[in-house]
């Protein structure tokens, strides 16, 4: 498994000042694999996936993405950010740009693509997330679910090999969760490598190849959905599942 891993974390440690946020986190994710990360609030899930594209810097251990090790080297960070797309809990669309401009900005400036070419591709992605008619609106004019689908399309326009999702549905009204999960499920079906922090256990069961459970900055256990849900190894996991599956 480690041989063809596209994301590899080896004994990663991370501190916020004196607060120890990640403790010896090791995980290896293969190409095309879908990993769902869950765990109680404050357990370091966001911190871990934000280390993968270096929105946060780790202090000890190694993170290797597609053969490139993440260090202070700006060039390496740039290369990795082109390969890795990210979707945030709060969408983080650019409010002063139209939907189409949100999608085309990075391909034009970072990849140097021609405007007409990327606009065509952007429209294709907007069709895939089922909002081509909103292309010329501003983000503030869309619903939360629509905004999050724009955010997914924006990340896809950079043609990433890996997609990171940090609780993409937790800021959404319940009736909009499904439209976003549907898009993500479709993406998973196309073979994208995905790391997804979410508490949508239905989605996890259906899509994930493996589920990672974190608590207090460490990975407590990981395994296939079947193992994880039917036969959790640690008491901590059972407790968490008990709480989350109650609703």
């Amino acid at each position: 498994m480690t041989a063809n891993a596209i994301i590899e974390l080896r004994k990663v440690g991370k501190w916020y000042n004196s607060y120890h946020a990640l403790r010896d986190v090791s995980i290896s994710i293969g190409k095309g694999e879908k990993v769902v990360v869950c765990g109680p609030s404050g357990s370091g899930k966001s911190t871990m996936i934000r280390c993968i594209n270096r929105l946060e810097a780790h202090q000890t251990g190694h993170i290797i993405v597609d053969g490139i090790e993440l260090t202070d080297d700006v060039k390496a960070v740039e290369k990795i950010r082109r390969k890795v797309g990210m979707v945030f809990q709060n969408f983080n669309l650019f409010p002063h740009l139209t939907v189409l401009q949100n999608l085309t900005l990075a391909p034009i400036w970072v990849r140097g693509m021609a405007k007409s070419e990327i606009e065509e591709i952007a429209m294709m992605y907007l069709k895939r997330v089922r909002i081509p008619d909103q292309a010329h609106k501003f983000p503030g004019q869309l619903s939360g679910g629509q905004q999050q689908r724009v955010a997914i399309a924006r990340a896809l326009c950079m043609r990433p090999e890996i997609m990171l999702f940090d609780e993409p549905t937790s800021a959404l009204d319940p009736e909009m969760v499904k439209e976003v999960l549907d898009v993500m499920t479709e993406l998973a079906g196309e073979g994208m490598t995905m790391v997804c922090v979410t508490h949508e256990m239905g989605f996890a069961r259906q899509v994930a190849d493996s589920i990672v459970f974190m608590a207090e900055g460490s990975i407590i256990e990981s395994g296939s959905p079947a193992e994880f849900f039917e036969n959790p190894k640690s008491e901590r996991t059972r407790q968490f599942l008990g709480q989350i599956l109650e609703h």
Binding site: E78, R81, V84, M86, F88, N92, W109, V110, G140
Partner: protein, 391 residues
Amino acid sequence: MSKHSPADQAPIPTAPVPPAHWAASYEEEPTQASTPPQANGMTALKPFGWAKDNLFNTPLNTALTVACLFLLWLVVPPMANWLLLNASWSGSSEACREAAGACWSVIAVKHRLIFFGTYPYDEQWRPFLACALFVAMLGASGVRAFWRPWLAVAWALTLVGMGVLMWGGVAGLTYVPNDRWGGLPITLMLSVFSIALAFPLSILLALGRQSSLPAIRTFCVGFIEAMRGVPLVSVLFMASVMFPLFLPEGVTVDKLLRALAGMTLFTAAYLAEAVRGGLQAIPKGQYEAADALGLSYWQKTMLIVLPQALRIVIPPIVNQFISAFKDTSLVTIVGLYDLLTAATVATTDPEWRPYFAEVYVFAGLMFWIFCFSMSRYSQWLERLANRYTRR
């Protein structure tokens, strides 16, 4: 809701059929709901109804209204008499002495001196043309349809044209050294150039203040705080008197240029603080989204952060512009003739000396026209900037 039995819902007044004793009022409701009751009253009684509702609705308001009317009656008629009705509009200073009102003939006689200072009298069409060109270009630059690359080309040509007109020395124009310039051209050029140079500088200072490099941060904070800690007058003095002492023997920098540098640095420090306010208002998520997409620092700054930050701070920025425009009148202390100084000089003529008030009213009006235009323009710009980002 689904747990409620029908019996629970019965007393809720939203039930479609009201109880029998409501029937009378229920009939009337639709007509009342279609037009708000105040609107009816307004159209019927306007404008007396409006005055009654807003000016005389309580004893206190009535008293205040009466007091205000009394004050207006005290102030407005004498002012109108002095400014307009009893004013003398043309003729000699003798005619003015007889008139009870303002003496506007002083403006008719002295306006060339007020506008153009000591610029050679026969050549004053040149600064006039230069100012007209400059104001026209400023106006054109405010029009959205003209925000095209050729506007920059037009500006370059305008600046060259203005230089030729003001200095001369080519194309058969006599040479006029810039220590003879004065009045409106000085005020306009000093303010516009210092603002135009200070604005980009202030953005760099504001960005530098947030830099992760300690050397840059310390320099920017030090510069901003040093400039904000001293009055403009002393900055102008330093630029004009002390700065030449640091220059090597034989090198001189023009007085006008030194004043411009002083104004620019001073304005930049204040603007930088306004811009910083905008930068701080941008949510962290915007930076993260830009980083995650692989944008470089300058791409992120120019494409994502500044366009949003500057929109937010249009009002305080324009505030600084207006204040910089008025501050140009302080360059008089380093011996430059701006509009206000030229006006003061105009009052020194013994024949027209008694009418200095009229001259200052006129100079004030000139300042007001420019400042008020800036203020109105900023309101339009704000609406334009917010039109798309708000729902």
